[in-house]
Amino acid sequence: MPRLKPRGFSLVELLLALTLLAVVAAGLWQALDATRRSYSREAERVELERTLRASAAILPAELRELDAGDSDITAMATTSIRIRATRQLAFLCTVPHRQDDGALAVTVRQRPLLGLRQSFSAGDSALLFFEGDPATREDDRWWRGRIRAVSDDACPDADQPRPGYRLTVELPWSSDGPPDLRAVTRGAPLRGFESVAYAVYRSPADTQWYLGQQVQDETVQPLIGPLIGPAGVAFAFFDSTGAPTSSTVRVAQIEIRVRGRTARPVRAPGTHRLEYESDSLVTRVALRNNPRPSEGP
């Protein structure tokens, strides 16, 4: 009787193959899971780094333009600062004239109009450059006022009229009376600004801590975060000698320390514990618009 040739696997072979498969699959799964966790962690870290870099871009850009000597810092503390932030830079195309009600009527060019905002609105604040006597720099001033009304106007240039904005500006005259309008020249700059506060706050939406931005009295908006907590942002203020100062008008440099954290807890390598990762960034900004020593007369 012919013997059948053995076909297929024996039970031992099958068990061996399944065992090997299980071992390989388990190893691969572990590697896969580690890779996935690592990716997830790295993605969170990149987001954290982005947050920190955003803080290094946004805050210094605002703070550089301050003139602390002219009270651009209206309040400052370790975790908050309120400033007058420049939003427009425009140029007069006519000499101003005083209206019957005492307000100043000025016309500014629509081009060039520099800054974040390309128009003006009633209620905006403004700083108008008073040249004074052209023979000296000592009487150069920026006068602060409020724009009461805005309308389209034309700049009466010699060849053709060009688009402009007519601004009615209320200037708080000093006790000496209204300033000499001969001190304001055609071409003089006018800066528009708004009051902006930066402070650490807790978002009611996700209960995380952020650096919030508040424009005028509007609602606080989250700007940078999440942060590690109420100490997630620390401002330090220094005068021109590099010494710490608590006087808002003596600030020459501002140090910003931002401590951010990942939005979600991540698993650290080699552990099964989930925790937030954090990082910090320190930037020091020199205020560019502080009063400069006079050169010449």
Partner: protein
Amino acid sequence: MALALAIVVIVVGGGLTALMFYVAFEEGRLSGSGVRVQQAFGVAEEGALEVLRAWDPRTYNVHDPYPFHSAMVPAGFPADWTAAPHGTGAYGGQVYKLNSELYLIDMTGRDDWGPPPGASAVRQRVAVLARVQPVAPGLVAALTVGKGSRRAGTVSIAGRDGLPPDWEPCGPPDSNRVGLDTVRGGLAAFSSGGFTYAELASLATRSVAGAAVLSNIGPTVVDGRCDETVATNWGGTQPNQVCGGYLPVVHIVGAATLAGVDGQGTLLVDGDLTVRGGLRWRGLVLVGGALRVTPGAAKDVAVWGAVFAADSATLEAGVAGSVAITYSKCAVVKALESVAPAVMFSSRGWLGLSEAP
């Protein structure tokens, strides 16, 4: 089955690994981008300050203000850029003359990254407000002569600070000066706003050969613009008209005779100056020899500003004409502002701009 499982795992694992590489690459790119932004910002700021440091009044000051004139830096911008020192990048921009005193420097810096140069460069832009170095006229008279003067006819020499017709005020008026000064040595006594005759001559924007009769001098407007290339254009006299902001420094090398001149700025004459009537000038007139005004076909002579002559002055008005030299601080200041260097505003002279123009 094992093979299928292995393939699935390898594919998924490979995908995740690729994502990790991508994340790491992005992280590196972002990090590098931050550095490049800082570098471009530094270059832009350096460019603006370099324009101030190397300020050339002949390029920026003498022309009509914006919107009629603005100077590119370098001249071929935006096709050409100026390399920043130390190879950190390149900068270029525009200088706007806002009025005779104020300027805006709009500067873009780039980090000069990637081939071809500049194609993928990061750019940052800043603006700086500048004003000319203040010039205090420091003059004591409308007419200062070295060797006496003679007058005939309707001649007025006024030391009271006056404003040329149609000019806007430029700050508070000066206290009264004397009309005629014959004791200080004439042109030798000239020093105003920190400038001497020789310094002004070195800054001349128009040089004219002497021994000539110069007539029909006046503002030239072509296509609504002040044409400064025309030799007979010595500036306008109406501040709000085209050429009204053009304040040249005219240097006549030798003696000259003027008969019909309408202009402003600084007029330097190395030798004698003869005026045959018909002169309207706002600014400074400095004469290295004698000044003679004689009646001519174009009758009136009117100078607002100040006149200096090294030698004597003879002022004769015709029967129907007049000669008037009136001290004007504004006219002198504006003439000197056209040769003065610029400095940054003493406060609020800096503005960060978020994007390239």
